[in-house]
Every structure is written in structure tokens, then in C-alpha cells.
């Protein structure tokens, strides 16, 4: 079938992508259209806690009133499931002293207490998204996409821990995945950045060279390893596994025959305004989900315990500083404003997926999106109350339109067990999970 010409726009800084994507446009840059749409899994992480009074609905069941922060989701009431009572106890000190923000990020999706270190011997555990990606990623070009809107670059330690613990996605106990922040680079990863003007034989040559170059790098690394001690060997192991992974990815990309859709322009860089930035990243993620380039993603809205300021909504103070509000109403108001602003980005994504057709329904019907934080009231680093909500019914695996309340400090990993089931990667054990959550 001949693909439709299209006019899709991904304009420069600050402009969202208008994507009137029709099903028939998809194959040009996607793997085969799935007769049976897969289930996508996405975790959006809200950093630095959540004000409980503006978050938790008063009542459970179906007719609850949407509190202030969640308000933008009210129009998707039927697609949302709010969960109260979940906790992330591994975020607590447990004898390790300060560093609640670093632990919040590292423990959130791993259900594991991160090993406290500023440098050598970083250790946590595989995260729920990566557990799913290890399996689901076999079928897609990217096992997963890790995204963020704030760079973790900051001279010095990050909250008494190595800054590596700012990652929520962990491929293995020793390999945190750095998230992508730049929409331009995300675009290049999705659509390739190489000159596609060459002839098919030039492109075939380049593909052959890449393969030989990676083979050679692999062999050289293996040869080197024989002469090294265990620590150095481990470092080079990271290179070996990475080479293998991108070889697979390149092979898949070649089969895809992917092209940048006509008129789809590369973003110029990072928009200065937070919402513009988040929209651009989420637009690209929508395409990646829709075209089945990946089925798993994490999105960290900003650094945990970070110092971003949000002048555009009237908050010129650093987020973390005011999150310790000490019950000062003025500061509570400001920190709540940030939390509302963050959730608006999630609502934007929900809307986007809901309006994107996918197989027999919408993309939202074939996804489970989790929005949550590893802390309740940030003033006291309350890891015992993780604000959590889901959107999308995961192809029927989640019964949405409700607010459920669990016993205090039910491990949030219980939710992950259920989500992994829905995503088709069942497991009996994950992190500190004690049992599956009944969310169907």
C-alpha cells in the first residue's frame, strides 16, 4: 500500500508537534503494524513529594471529587485509577542517615534500599520498567526510553549520594540509566541523524562498516579484558554488553526502513520554559509508542530534591528549598503550584494518547501510565505515603474510574507486580513486594 504524504510539524523551540497521524501513515517508520496492539508501560515520576491535602480524594469508589492537583485529569475520570496507601519504605534512612531525595529516586522503581556511596560501588537493583523492558524490548527497536526535563549535572554530591542515584531506571544493580533531556537528541535517536540522501548502496556500505567497526570494538574489548583485574573487567563489561545491544538495535532499525516523515522537523534544542520542554518530549514519546519503537518508558519531570525555579507560574524560588515549607501557608501554596504544574504535563500526555487511534481503540486503551512520587509531604520526606495514580486500562487489565485505599504502607512494589502481569511479563517477586495488588 502506498503511504499517504503527510504534513506533520515538529517546529522549533516551544512548539508542540501537530500530529494528525493516521494508521496508514505509520508503517513508513515503524515496525509492522500490530494486528493485536501491545500494551505500553510508562512511569512518570513527580520529584520532591506531593502535598497530601491537595492530592488525596476524600472518598473512595467511583464518585470521588478530584482534588486540586489532579483536577486536570477530571475530564478523563473514567480512565483514571487513584491508589492511596502505597509506600516506599526503602526511601527511608534505615540507618543510613541523610539523603532522602537520592534514596527517593533510586528506590522508587526498584523497591530496594540503595547502597550509600558517593563514588565507588554504586548498587541498587533492577527497576520495574527495566524488568519489563528486558522482555518487551526484544520486539522493539528501543527496549525503553528514559526521559527527563532536568539535567542531573551539579558539581558536588547529590544529597550525600553519588549523583548516579538520581536515576529511577536501573538496568542492573550497578547500571543506572541516564535519562535523555534534549528533544533534539531524542529525535535523532528515534529517527536517525545520518544523511539519508545517499544511494541505497552507499547506505548498505555504511551499514556494513558499522557492523565491522562494532565487531572489532567487541573483539578488542574482549582481548583487553583477559589482562585486567576484576574491577577493570567489570568496567569493560559495560562496554561489551552495550555494543551487543546497539548491534541488535541497528539491525532492527535497518529492517524497519525507517525514514523521517516528510515535514517532521528536528527540534532545535531544549526550550527554556518547562511546559514547552515537557510537551516536546511527550510528543516524541507518543510517536515512539504509536509506531511501536518502544513499549516502555520512564519520565522524570525534574530532579529529585532539585533546585529548578518556575518563574512562569510565579515561583521564583528553588523547588527543594520551598518544599520544606514548615507549614508556612505561602510556601505550601507555592510548592503546590509546582505540583499542579507537573501533573498538567501528565494530563497533556493522557490527552495525547487518548486522541491517538491505535488498533481497535486509542493508544491510551493500550497503555498503563503511572504518575507518582516517592514521598508525600516533602517537608518531612514522607516515604510512607507515595501519591500514585494510573491512567489507561492496559488493554483491560486495570479497572479505572475509581479511587482505592489500601492499608498504610502497602509496598508500592505490589503495584509493580500487577503491572508486570498486565504488561505480559509476570513475576512472583519484585523488590519488596508482598503480594499483588487487586486493580483489575
Amino acid at each position: 500500500m502506498k503511504h499517504l504524504p503527510r504534513r506533520t510539524f515538529l517546529r522549533g523551540i516551544g512548539t508542540a508537534i501537530a500530529l494528525p497521524l493516521l494508521d496508514s501513515m505509520v508503517p513508513a517508520f515503524a515496525s509492522k503494524v500490530q494486528a493485536d496492539s501491545p500494551c505500553r508501560l510508562m512511569f512518570m515520576y513527580a520529584p520532591t513529594g506531593m502535598m497530601p491535602n491537595a492530592w488525596y480524594p476524600q472518598t473512595t469508589g467511583t464518585d470521588f471529587e478530584f482534588p486540586r492537583i489532579m483536577k486536570p485529569l477530571e475530564k478523563f475520570r473514567k480512565d483514571v485509577l487513584v491508589l492511596s496507601g502505597l509506600g516506599d519504605k526503602n526511601g527511608y534512612a534505615l540507618g543510613d542517615g541523610s539523603g532522602d531525595h537520592a534514596r527517593a529516586a533510586a528506590s522508587y522503581l526498584t523497591g530496594t534500599h540503595p547502597h550509600k556511596t558517593e563514588g565507588a560501588d554504586i548498587r541498587c537493583n533492577i527497576s520495574a520498567d527495566q524488568f519489563a523492558a528486558a522482555e518487551l524490548g526484544k520486539k522493539t527497536r528501543f527496549a525503553s526510553l528514559e526521559l527527563t526535563c532536568e539535567d542531573s549535572r551539579q558539581a558536588g554530591a547529590c544529597d550525600s549520594y553519588s549523583c548516579a542515584y538520581q536515576s529511577i531506571s536501573w538496568k542492573s544493580p550497578t547500571q543506572p540509566l541516564p535519562p535523555e533531556i534534549n528533544p533534539r537528541l531524542l529525535f535523532e535517536r528515534l529517527f536517525g541523524d545520518l544523511d539519508l540522501s545517499g544511494t541505497p548502496s552507499q547506505r548498505a556500505n555504511q551499514a556494513a562498516y558499522r557492523k565491522s567497526i562494532l565487531d572489532l570494538a567487541y573483539q578488542d574489548t574482549q582481548r583487553l579484558q583477559g589482562k585486567l583485574d576484576a574491577t577493570d573487567k567489570r568496567k569493560l563489561d559495560e562496554y561489551l554488553t552495550s555494543i551487543r545491544e546497539i548491534e541488535t538495535r541497528i539491525a532492527k532499525a535497518e529492517n524497519d526502513q525507517q525514514q523521517v516523515p516528510v515535514g517532521l522537523e528536528k527540534p532545535a534544542g531544549i526550550p527554556p520554559v518547562f511546559a514547552d520542554h515537557a510537551h516536546l518530549m511527550l510528543d516524541l514519546l507518543t510517536i515512539a509508542f504509536q509506531t511501536d519503537m518502544t513499549r516502555v518508558s520512564t519520565f522524570m519531570l525534574a530532579r529529585e530534591g532539585g533546585l529548578r525555579t518556575y518563574g512562569e507560574i510565579g515561583v521564583p524560588e528553588a523547588h527543594h528549598s520551598i518544599s520544606h515549607h514548615r507549614r508556612n501557608p505561602e510556601l505550601i501554596e507555592k510548592v503546590t503550584k509546582i505540583q499542579c504544574y507537573h501533573l498538567e504535563q501528565f494530563a497533556y500526555f493522557v490527552e495525547k494518547l487518548k486522541s491517538t487511534p491505535d488498533g481497535d481503540g486509542s493508544l491510551l486503551d493500550h497503555s498503563v501510565l503511572v504518575y507518582g512520587a516517592s514521598m508525600g509531604d516533602p517537608n518531612i520526606h514522607d516515604h510512607g505515603k507515595c501519591p500514585t495514580l494510573l491512567a489507561g486500562n492496559g488493554k483491560g487489565g486495570v479497572k479505572t474510574g475509581r479511587h482505592l485505599r489500601y492499608d498504610t504502607q502497602t509496598p508500592i512494589c505490589n503495584l509493580y507486580l500487577s503491572l508486570l502481569d498486565i504488561a505480559g511479563v509476570p513475576t512472583e517477586k519484585f523488590g519488596d513486594a508482598s503480594a499483588k495488588l487487586e486493580i483489575a
Binding site: S98, L185, N205, Y209, I213, L228, D229, S242, R249, A318
Partner: protein
């Protein structure tokens, strides 16, 4: 693995304490130590602990994480095995911080007896111990190192690594081998970078299309400004025309001056009189510009007396290449095609002639026959597929850039488990990545391969040459930027309502000042104590106005002399004062912490679990900030640390949150006086700096520890004490010169040697 586990504990509990207290310990080392005195432990130390310490520092309360109670039931030898805690004891006693205020003070001679006993015992243990140089883990190039290495290897300055994921930090720096990990995303970026760099270095022969790029000031967040800047990536070496346009309604007869800058250098100055509405631009035509990113700036200068609507820079436009430099005349081509032939004229023996030196320099050591053969076979493969010889070289270059020998700095394991000297080529790499954040140049590599580099006089000359080279700017940027934390300046956003003067230009100026100040200390080989109180700095007109320094005009930075009353040294530079503030106000706590960490390397322990850091933002305006802060120090739990941090910060209250001098804060006059836990008092920043300078030893030690960490690319460990001590001593004996510090680090055991593998040759 045992060893590593142990290190970790010490790193985590406090890298701080042994380091700070080492100063005290080693000042005490005397030749011919007396016989062990375990009896003094029983007769003096235990009674002292019992009387003055264990009521708080016991198993139950464990105040400050310290349980001294258990020592009472131990032998001297057993108790001494916990060095970290003993050194904390010595530090706190010597500094007069313990017992805390309000508790009975032990007689001075009893304190001395305890501290002497601890120091003597450890000095004895250290003398008996074998030197241990430690091991540096295989170190992948970080972003700065990757960029610089590509620049020096190929003369390609694309800064491709700016697109790589951010490097993780450890021990305050982003060049720590243990912490630098490698993900699939980064590997993908490596491949992309290798292809981009190789294509830039070896163009395919297609002429570059002419491009007109127009940057609208408004779109870059620089609307309505007299000065606009942009970084443009020039696709190839060639001639380009830079142009800027102003915007304003019709202003006939209006006079102004237009200027264009390329990489900070003025390339055009033009007097302009507006006659018609069509007069809208000024340009610098046909400039020869090399491939890669360059900064382009445009400014207009108008009569300050003009009160009506002012024109402003509307856009910068770059047009070109109007003439492309032939490939064989570009620097990368000449560097790579060592056989000297023009494109299309190479003969078969050229491949070897080209690839051998290229791989040799890229791997920073001689290439093996197997490695060279592998590369040559890639050239053959490309030719077999119908591609040109140049394309074949390009593929081989890509392979070089993907090789672990390029991406990692790996030191080999000789047989055996003994500590050993690293090879001269390994030493060359350690040296060049320390001082240049880049690969060794030909001279350094040659000396190394002749096995002459380790010769102390050769080494000394090379260090001097390298520090004098402009590539040592990397030390300022990477070490200085992280040590002083001024790298964070880039991502800070002071409240635009409270600080409307703070903009990107002022931000750049602040950074430039501190960098030039640091460079000056290197280039002029000054005393490192100038960091504390150097009576000079570098400013341009904008920064001079901000500081209230008169007589400086124009955008160029120049040296000015200072009297030290308001400014001198890094602590009172705007860059540092800004990174140690909140976006909306100053923070004596953060500034005090900054001094403890950066200047003294004695960071306070983190606040106890679940006690939020003091919330300064929450403080109202009804009482002075200082009163509010002092109130919380009445809580003994807070006081033990905040009595160290806060006074230091109060001494800097004369500077607002972007470092501007002030004498009042709102309606309250500034009180910049303070008392340190050791009883010293001061009033104002000049006196505070005098106190810090009087303890020059503490600063030299702190700088040594920081620079040694950076030089080695690993955290310091207890066994590095003797090395630190001897570096500090030699610096102090040589007028505190910066070059002496670098020389001594380079000559030290941990820099020159490597511990044997616990298990040679593998697991």
C-alpha cells in the same frame, strides 16, 4: 573485594575526618618514636573518655554517630583499629568544639595527653606500614576529555561529547574512574560521534551547500538587547559573512556604533548613521572560519544621553561558506594524511603510513601489528565495496574512535601482586589528562616511549611546559569549575524580580573573572594562598560597575588591583557568592558550608536523618534573618554543626545573593560579625579571610586533597595520608607556589605507582 568494602565504609561515614585531622596528626610525626604506651590508654585516656565523652557518645545516644563507650572495655590495640573515630575525637578536641559549650571544660593538659597519645600511636603504625599507592580503575574518557582528545588528535573541534549523557560525579568530580559508567545510550552516542567526527575530518568531496542561518534575538530569549550572542556550528572550513541587524522605527540622523565579535574577538567596528529605514545592518564579510562551533556576538552602542526609544539587535545572520577551503588544505586532512598526497593521489602503501601514527596517538601508546592489520583490513573492505581510499581511511578512523583503547585509559597489570611504578606511557597519559584533560602531545609521548619521562628533571620540565601551555585552561575549567562549584552557575536562575541586573552576560562575566583569576595563579606561579586573599582580579566594564570599581571601560577583561576591603580572593568573587545562595536570598548556611567544603575540606556531616535542613526560605521578614538563624542554634543538636557553618556565612552577609556589596538587607543593617567555635572572632569579610589565611596550612591541605583526588581520578583513602602530608610539606617549604603543588602531586607515590592486583590477571 574485601578492601573495597572497607573503603566504602570510610568514604561513606566521613571522608572528612581523617583528612582534616591528618593535618594535626602529621605535624606531630617525629623520628625515633618512643616505645608503645598502652598503659597511658588505661591510665589517662579511658578516664578522660569516661568523664567527658561517654555521657553522650554511648551506644544508646550515639551522638554525632559516635559511640566511644565501647572503647572503655577494649585494649588499646583493639580500640585503635577504629581510626576514623579516633581522628574525629582528636579533631574535635583540638578545635575546641568538644565537649560542647555548657559542659565542663577538661584541663588543657588532659586534652593534650589524649590527643598526643592518639597521634603518637597512629604515627607509629604509619611508619611501620608499607606505602600503598592504590589502584585507579579503568577510566573511560568523560565529556570534556573526549572533546579535547578529539580536538588534539584530529584538529576537529566539534565538541560532539556535549551531546553525551551527563557524566556522574563522585568525590566532587566527574573524572572518577569507578563512577564513570557506560550505558547503551552512551555507546550509541559514541558511534554517532565517531561517524560525525570522521566525516568532518575526512570530507567526502561533496562541496558544502551555501547556508544562510538567521538567529532572531527574540527567539533566543535575548529580545530588546544591545548585545546578542549565538553559538553557530560552521559546517566546513571556509569563508563566511557575519551580519547583524538592528530594529527600531525610523530614526533619521541617529548615530550608533555596531560591533561584531567572533569567539570573543572583535571582527568589525562600524560607525553608523541612520538615514533611511533601509539602513538596518552591518556585516563583516569573507571571514576565514574553521569548522565547528564558534561564538558570534553582535552589539550596538548608542549615546547614553539618548532617552527616547532605543534600537536593539534584532538578529545575527551567518552566510556561507562563500568559499570552501580545499580539503587538502584543512588542518584535519594534513594531520591524518601523513603521506602528503592530495585526495585521489594516494598509493597502497599510504594506508599503513597514515593509520600507524593515527592509531598510535589515539591509543596513546605504540600500536600492535594485529591492531594495525585489523585497521588496514577495514580500508581494503571499503575499497572492495567500491568506495574510495579516503572513505576506507574514514572507516578505519571510526574504528579507532570506537576502540576500547581510545575510549578508556587502562593501566596494565604486570605479573605479581606487588606495588609497582606505572610505565612511562601510562605516566604520560596520567599527566596529560590531569593538566590538559586531553591526550599526551607528541613531545610527551616521545619522551615516554624513550623511557625518559619518569626522570625527575625531565618530568619537572614537562610539567612546567604543560602548565604554560594554553591547554592547561582545562585544569581551570574542569578542576576549578568543580572544586569551586562555579560550574553550577550555568544552571542557576536568580529571581529576576529581585535581581533584575542578573542576566546571561553578567553570568558569563562572573565565570570569566574566576577563571582568569585561577589562570593567573597558574601562569604567574603565585602562592596558592592568593585563592584566599589575592589582592587583584580581572574585570570588564560591566563587572567593574557591578563591583563599584571605577575606571574600567570596554568589554575586555583586564587586571585590576584591590585593597581587600570589599573584594580579594575567590570567596568574595560574585561567581562563588552566587552559587552559594538561594535564587531569592543569601544563605549563611550554604556559604558557611561552601567554605568548610571548598576551603577547608572539612564538610559538616549531613543533617541527622529526618531532620530537614534549616529552612531559611521560610523565615519571615518581621525579624532579621540573622536573629532567626541564631535562634535555631540554641538547639544543641543543630548547634554542633551550625556553630561551625553559620558564622562563616554571616561573615559574607555584606554580599547579596548575586554577590553585590550591601550594607543593609531590607530595613535591617548587615551584621557581618561572628565567632568561630575555637573562640576567634571577626567583623566583616576582610577579617574572616584574615582568619582563614592565618590557618594557611588548613587551606593548603584542602587544596592538595582536592587536586590529588582530581589528578588520580579516585577518592582518597586512609593509606594516602603520607602522600598528602609530604605534598603539603613541600608546598609549604616552597612559598606555597602552585607549580610546587602540581610537581609534588606528580612526584607522589599514588600518582607514580599502582598497587598490585589482589588477584593478578583476573578474578
Amino acid at each position: 573485594m574485601q578492601r573495597r568494602g572497607g573503603l566504602l565504609c570510610s568514604a561513606r561515614a566521613s571522608r572528612v575526618y581523617w583528612l582534616s585531622s591528618a593535618a594535626i596528626l602529621f605535624a606531630f610525626v617525629l623520628p625515633g618514636l618512643a616505645a608503645p604506651a598502652p598503659d597511658r590508654f588505661e591510665t589517662s585516656v579511658k578516664p578522660f573518655l569516661h568523664e567527658h565523652c561517654v555521657m553522650c557518645h554511648n551506644a544508646k545516644l550515639s551522638s554525632g554517630g559516635l559511640n566511644l563507650d565501647r572503647f572503655l572495655s577494649q585494649t588499646a590495640a583493639a580500640a585503635l583499629s577504629d581510626r576514623e573515630h579516633w581522628e574525629m575525637v582528636v579533631q574535635k578536641l583540638k578545635a575546641g568544639e568538644m565537649p560542647p559549650k555548657g559542659m565542663p571544660r577538661p584541663p588543657a593538659d588532659q586534652i593534650t595527653t589524649v590527643t598526643d597519645w592518639v597521634q603518637t600511636e597512629y604515627a607509629r603504625l604509619d611508619q611501620a606500614a608499607k606505602p600503598e599507592p592504590g589502584r585507579v580503575t579503568a577510566h573511560r574518557l568523560n565529556r570534556a576529555e573526549y572533546n579535547n582528545t578529539i580536538r588534539d588528535l584530529l584538529h576537529v573541534n566539534l565538541r560532539v561529547a556535549d551531546d553525551f549523557p551527563v557524566d556522574p560525579y563522585g568525590y566532587g568530580f566527574d573524572n572518577i574512574g569507578d563512577v564513570l559508567s557506560l550505558s547503551p545510550v552512551l555507546t550509541e552516542e559514541y558511534l554517532k560521534a565517531a561517524e560525525r567526527v570522521a566525516r568532518a575530518a575526512i570530507p567526502t568531496g561533496q562541496p558544502q551547500k551555501l547556508i544562510v542561518a538567521r538567529y532572531l534575538a527574540e527567539r533566543m530569549g535575548q529580545a530588546n538587547r544591545l548585545h546578542v550572542q549565538v553559538v553557530h556550528e560552521f559546517p566546513v572550513d571556509g569563508e563566511y559573512t557575519l551580519r547583524a541587524a538592528w530594529f527600531q522605527g525610523y530614526l533619521p540622523g541617529f548615530k550608533m556604533k555596531g560591533r561584531l565579535f567572533l569567539d570573543g574577538k572583535q571582527v568589525l567596528e562600524k560607525d553608523i548613521t541612520i538615514y533611511t529605514e533601509m539602513d538596518r545592518g552591518f556585516e563583516a564579510p569573507d571571514l576565514q572560519i574553521s569548522q565547528g562551533p564558534h561564538k558570534v556576538e553582535a552589539s550596538i552602542e548608542i549615546d547614553p544621553a539618548w532617552k527616547k526609544e532605543k534600537p536593539y539587535v534584532e538578529y545575527i545572520q551567518i552566510h556561507g561558506p562563500t568559499k570552501q577551503t580545499p580539503p587538502e588544505l584543512t588542518a584535519p586532512y594534513q594531520q591524518i594524511f601523513a603521506c602528503g598526497h592530495a585526495p585521489g593521489h594516494h598509493n597502497p602503501s599510504c594506508a599503513r603510513k597514515i593509520l600507524e601514527p593515527l592509531a598510535h596517538r589515539a591509543f596513546r601508546r605504540p600500536v600492535t601489528a594485529k591492531e594495525l592489520d585489523d585497521l588496514l583490513s577495514l580500508v581494503k573492505m571499503a575499497q572492495k565495496r567500491g568506495d574510495s581510499f579516503e572513505t576506507g581511511i574514514r572507516v578505519a578512523l571510526e574504528a579507532i574512535l570506537m576502540s576500547p583503547n581510545f575510549l578508556f585509559r587502562i593501566e596494565r597489570n604486570p605479573p605479581g601482586t606487588e606495588a609497582h611504578h606505572i610505565t612511562d606511557t601510562e605516566l604520560a597519559s596520567r599527566l596529560s589528562y590531569f593538566l590538559w584533560s586531553s591526550m599526551p602531545d607528541d613531545e610527551l609521548l616521545k619522551l615516554a616511549e624513550q623511557n625518559r619521562l619518569h626522570d625527575p628533571s625531565v618530568l619537572h620540565k614537562q610539567v612546567a611546559r604543560m602548565l604554560a601551555d594554553s591547554k592547561s585552561e582545562a585544569l581551570v575549567e574542569n578542576f576549578g569549575g568543580q572544586w569551586l562549584k562555579i560550574r553550577n552557575l550555568e544552571s542557576l536562575t536568580p529571581d529576576p524580580v529581585k535581581f533584575p541586573d542578573f542576566d546571561d552576560e553578567l553570568r558569563d562575566d562572573m565565570l570569566t573573572e574566576t577563571q582568569m583569576f585561577f589562570s593567573d595563579i597558574i601562569k604567574e606561579d603565585r602562592s596558592v594562598l592568593d585563592f584566599l586573599d589575592g589582592r587583584y582580579t580581572y574585570v570588564n566594564e560591566r563587572l567593574a560597575k557591578f563591583y563599584g570599581i571605577e575606571g574600567v571601560t570596554g568589554p575586555e577583561f583586564r587586571r585590576v588591583e584591590l585593597n581587600g576591603a570589599e573584594r580579594s580572593g575567590v570567596i568574595t568573587q560574585a561567581s562563588v557568592l552566587t552559587v552559594s545562595s538561594y535564587p531569592t536570598r543569601t544563605s549563611p548556611v550554604i556559604r558557611g558550608k561552601w567554605i568548610l567544603e571548598t576551603i577547608l575540606n572539612t564538610p559538616p556531616p549531613p543533617p541527622p536523618p529526618d531532620v530537614p535542613a534549616l529552612n531559611e526560605e521560610a523565615i519571615g521578614v518581621s525579624v532579621s534573618f540573622r536573629q532567626e538563624l541564631e535562634k535555631h542554634r540554641t538547639n544543641p543538636l543543630c548547634a554542633s554543626c551550625h556553630s561551625r557553618m553559620d558564622p562563616l556565612g554571616f561573615g559574607l552577609e555584606n554580599y547579596d545573593a548575586i554577590g553585590r556589596w550591601r550594607t543593609t538587607d531590607g530595613k535591617f543593617p548587615i551584621d557581618a560579625s561572628g565567632a568561630l567555635p575555637n573562640g576567634k572572632t571577626f567583623n566583616g569579610p576582610a577579617e574572616l579571610k584574615a582568619i582563614l589565611k592565618s590557618d594557611g596550612h588548613g587551606f593548603v591541605r584542602s587544596l592538595t586533597e582536592n587536586l590529588l583526588t582530581y589528578a588520580l581520578g579516585r577518592g582518597l583513602e586512609p593509606y594516602d595520608r603520607p602522600a598528602v602530608e609530604s605534598i603539603v610539606r613541600s608546598v609549604e617549604q616552597n612559598g606555597d607556589r602552585f607549580s610546587q603543588l602540581v610537581d609534588s602531586i606528580v612526584a607522589s607515590v599514588p600518582f607514580q605507582m599502582r598497587s598490585g592486583a589482589a588477584t593478578p590477571g583476573g578474578d
